[in-house]
Symmetry: C2
Subunit: 189 residues, 2 copies
Amino acid sequence: MRALEEKIVAEGKVYPGNILKVSSFLNHRIDVDFIMEMGEEIARLYRDCGVNKILTIEASGIAIAVGAAAHMHVPVVFAKKNNTSNLNADLYSSQIHSFTHNRDYHVVVSKEFLSPEDRVLIIDDFLANGAALNGLLDIVAQSGAETVGAAIAIEKGFQHGGDELRRKGLRIESLALIDSMDDGAITFR
Amino acid sequence: MRALEEKIVAEGKVYPGNILKVSSFLNHRIDVDFIMEMGEEIARLYRDCGVNKILTIEASGIAIAVGAAAHMHVPVVFAKKNNTSNLNADLYSSQIHSFTHNRDYHVVVSKEFLSPEDRVLIIDDFLANGAALNGLLDIVAQSGAETVGAAIAIEKGFQHGGDELRRKGLRIESLALIDSMDDGAITFR
């Protein structure tokens, strides 16, 4: 999505360690008109796929998921982050390693809100090594629902989490796919 | 908003300690078509007020804020929760006491995203004793911006946080205002 690439170049900030901050429109301040355009593009990419539920993860995935859901007219379920392993029979739970913060956390989804008849589109703001996406895929698998695909705002292609999952057959649509950001210069695939 | 009152009666679950769970459409699973209607109502209530920014708090405020912002065509800034006091010159910070979890936490907003020329509408999912709303008001005051008012999905009127702030002159529009939920029977004001 060219408008997103342009926005990343104009407003994104690259920090050492391949960190890209897009706080001005995605992660802290949300440019809602733009988020709704991104949602419309996601809806277009996954039209006619029978998606009946969107799964995302708090907090920064919620806005994009809502933008897509507003165009697809399906509900959103957001996975909640827990610092502790919560062995609760009412919850699906998966462990995720955060490379950014170098620690593990758990994501949980109430069993009420995901079931075998669901056809799920997973939406998140970033995809890098794939840890969060793998956690969400695990939760969908536990529920017996089917993952139709994933839609990501910004994929860091040079961290290869997306490539690995595509090789396994997962459909992933990234609205912007960054191949490198060496020396602060962002190159899109 | 009668549709919200009906939804609370139909889907809300009342637990001891005056706890109301609306996880099926607001806090975990998000009924996005309905959230967009709530957003449209908020936009109507605050039309012609010169609002140029919406402030909310992660995570469950984000969806409603996005719903309103999509109709008002203004950006959303969401305050982030921190467990520790973060003395950072780049952040506005306020301490909030959670009565639900009986602990204090901090909310922070980057100084980049709130400034004296802003006319801010604060949006949140719940208003009870007013702790979170007071924290957000404090942050807007620190920035020198003006708070135009607050829009709340569900106010627990019997906990009186809203009444106290209204007496101080704050405009608060609650889409559903609950006066009591004794014995699980919900009465609206």
